[in-house]
């Protein structure tokens, strides 16, 4: 019987999740803490998370076993149900990279400078090609956000480090929001 990679993965990941949760429950809930000394009766600080992880492991193991049973014993190479939406892999990875890059950049360059770059990148990724629209949306959008959060909501947005912090403060002063 030929097993499709997706069907095999559909069996493998729940079993891996079950094993991972089990290991986590027994070894990493509170490593280095003498739980036995702290436990009163049957209840201790690790009881609840451990129980939840073991329940998750049980559910995952059951799911994996059911799928394994279907796949091996019953010759039902039923693939796990997944969304049938057609995904653009490169765009998907690009969007995640852009998102992560934005988050990582914030403490270094500050929200004021990271945001227009992110906006421009996201709009390009989304298929917009008109430079004026991209430029205006990025700049005016960022200014609007800064005004709303810094001036109106009085939120201390991350200003970045070093020269970027100075540049952010200068920008805030220019906008009259600092």
């Amino acid at each position: 019987m030929a097993v499709s990679p997706r069907a095999a993965l559909g069996v493998a990941w729940p079993l891996a999740a079950a094993a991972g949760s089990g290991v986590l429950a027994f070894s990493y809930v509170a490593p280095g803490v003498d739980l036995a000394a702290m436990t009163r009766g049957v209840i201790g600080p690790a009881t609840w998370p451990k129980a939840m992880l073991l329940c998750a492991a049980a559910a995952a193991a059951l799911l994996g076993l059911i799928r394994l049973l279907e796949l091996l014993s019953l010759r039902l190479a039923r693939e796990p149900a997944v969304d049938q939406t057609d995904y653009h892999e490169a765009r998907s990875i690009g969007a995640i990279a852009l998102l992560v890059g934005y988050g990582v950049a914030i403490p270094f360059v500050g929200i004021a400078w990271a945001t227009p770059i992110f906006l421009a990148g996201w709009l390009l990724l989304g298929g917009l090609r008109r430079p004026l629209l991209i430029g205006l949306t990025s700049i005016l959008g960022t200014l609007g956000i800064l005004y709303f959060f810094v001036k109106v909501s009085l939120m201390p947005l991350d200003r970045g480090k070093g020269i970027f912090e100075q540049a952010t403060v200068a920008l805030y002063r220019l906008l009259g929001i600092y």
Binding site: V29, L62, R75, A81, V82, P107, M155, L157
Partner: protein, 503 residues
């Protein structure tokens, strides 16, 4: 009479300019978010949550309540104008609503929808105001084991919407509860599941998880799709309230929808989508024109519309009386209350009845203002749809990131939000439900607290949950939920096994 006087007093508070303004802005945000396909009002509520920090608990609830009420209806606008449901709960509105829109014009369909929704919503808001206090008085007799049992019921209620993914929903739920346990244990002061990372020592804020899983996950999902729906509506749609004559003609379907929605709203986890689907299904069974359903029968639009808005008020009854959210929207309102240090439960009715009645009154007003706001949004819907979805998604990301940062003014929350965003995207993509995880993160710490104090108060006797009558009843109800969800899955599995052996 006391309740009526308290409600009138609440109305006075709700009509204060600040409160009214915040509620109307909430309704506007909700209707727009609901109407935009791909952006659910739950996302809007999750993104709005951190911004309620600067508000009082009352104003925060009025704001989120406005988004909730407006958002539940908003999805119908795109259902009726584009045949694309703005939210899952607006799906039944497409089936008969869009054909009406095509045949008699969008004005007719929108007018039926808004009138039915307003009737359902108003009835539900009155139920919330007048039925929840007696329920809260009953809940005052609860002790820690009963609250634990009620929280367990809230947790397992998510299985009601597991849609044939029971085990995955359970996994998602338990992982959510485990995520909720990350950080320093409040009773023993022991860091748990922190892996030595300082940023995890203070725990993971459920707001961050919610924004990541709901908002960022959905945006990434939308951005990654190869073919995206075309939102090309170009005409201005007007709507009005139905005449009394038209309303009278639809009285039975609106009445049935309202009754069904009001009951389903109380069921934890069910929410507007289940309410709308059940109401449509029942209307299709009992209506004289049942054979014509799907071709533009007005009762087929009125019933689900009335039902989905009728769930909004009653979904808050278990939330405010027991701390169990009846829907995803109610879960976010629970989060808002907890963020402000307000513990929902029966004690709230004795400690701060003024705030509660103001919330009830605001909820009632929101259903009235929903009509006015929706008329405006429907009129400019075509203009709104001309905005490129990439631009809308980009700003959702910015608001999400800034919102996550604002939770504790800590970049660590942004990192966690991004992690949950990517996780949410892949969970969505591979059919792994996200809602149970969110519910687990919110209710998990509450459940643990009730469990630990029950154990401390009852000498570590875990049978206390099953020997006290009310607790045992709630536990039995929770077990019933699990069995109810498990039954069809087991039958399906048995059928597959039998079919497989025959091959």
């Amino acid at each position: 009479m006391d309740a009526l006087a308290a409600f009138a007093q609440g109305l006075v508070v709700a009509l204060q300019p600040l409160h009214l303004g915040v509620m109307v802005i909430g309704v506007l945000i909700g209707v727009i978010a609901g109407a935009l396909p791909g952006i659910s009002f739950v996302n809007a509520m999750a993104i709005a949550l951190p911004f309620t920090y600067m508000m009082s608990p009352l104003v925060a609830m009025m704001f989120l309540g406005g988004i909730y009420v407006g958002g539940v209806f908003g999805g119908s606008i795109s259902s009726l104008l584009l045949n694309i449901p703005g939210d899952p709960d607006s799906l039944p509105s497409c089936w008969d609503g869009y054909p009406i829109s095509q045949r008699d014009g969008p004005q007719r369909a929108l007018s039926i929808a808004i009138t039915a929704s307003a009737v359902g919503g108003l009835f539900s808001a009155f139920l919330l105001a007048f039925a929840s206090p007696p329920f809260a008085r009953f809940a005052l007799t609860f002790d820690q084991p009963e609250f634990f049992a009620a929280t367990v019921l809230g947790l397992v209620s998510v299985l009601a919407i597991s849609k044939g993914q029971l085990l995955m929903s359970l996994m998602s739920l338990f992982f959510g509860v485990a995520i909720g346990a990350i950080g320093t244990d409040p009773l023993y002061g022991v860091p748990r599941l922190t892996f030595g990372f300082d940023l995890l020592a203070n725990g993971i804020e459920f707001t961050v998880v919610m924004i990541g899983l709901f908002a960022l996950g959905e945006v990434l999902d939308y951005a990654s799709q190869r073919i995206r729906p075309d939102f090309g509506v170009k005409e201005k749609a007007r709507m009005t309230i139905l005449s009394l004559r038209d309303l009278w003609a639809l009285r039975f379907s609106i009445g049935r929808g309202t009754a069904i929605g009001s009951v389903i709203g109380v069921v934890p986890g069910a929410g507007a989508a289940v309410g709308a689907l059940v109401a449509y299904g029942i209307e299709r069974q009992v209506n004289k024109r049942r054979d014509e359903f799907g071709t533009g029968v007005e009762d087929g639009l009125a019933a689900p519309e009335a039902s989905k808005n009728a769930t909004t008020g009653t979904a808050l009854i278990p939330l405010l009386t027991l701390g169990i959210p009846g829907s995803a929207g109610a879960a976010i309102m629970l989060a808002a209350l907890m963020l402000h240090g307000v513990q929902p439960g029966p004690n709230l009715y004795t400690k701060d009845p003024g705030m509660l009645y103001a919330i009830f009154a605001s909820f009632t007003l929101a259903n009235v203002f929903m009509v006015i706001v929706s008329v405006g949004v429907a009129r400019f819907f075509g203009t709104m749809m001309r905005a490129d979805p990439a631009i809308i998604c980009a700003f959702i990301v910015i608001f999400s990131v800034v919102g996550a940062f604002g939770v504790r003014n800590n970049i660590a929350d942004v990192y966690l939000c991004l992690v949950f965003g990517v996780l949410g995207f892949y969970m969505r993509r591979f059919g792994f439900p996200t809602a149970p995880m969110v519910l687990g993160v919110i209710l998990g710490p509450l459940a643990e607290g009730y469990f630990m104090t029950s154990m401390a108060n009852y000498a570590d006797d875990w049978t206390v949950f099953f020997t006290r009558p009310k607790s045992a009843f709630l536990m039995a109800l929770a077990a019933g939920f699990v069995l109810w969800a498990l039954g069809p899955e087991l039958r399906q599995l048995a059928r597959r096994l039998v079919d497989g052996r025959r091959r």
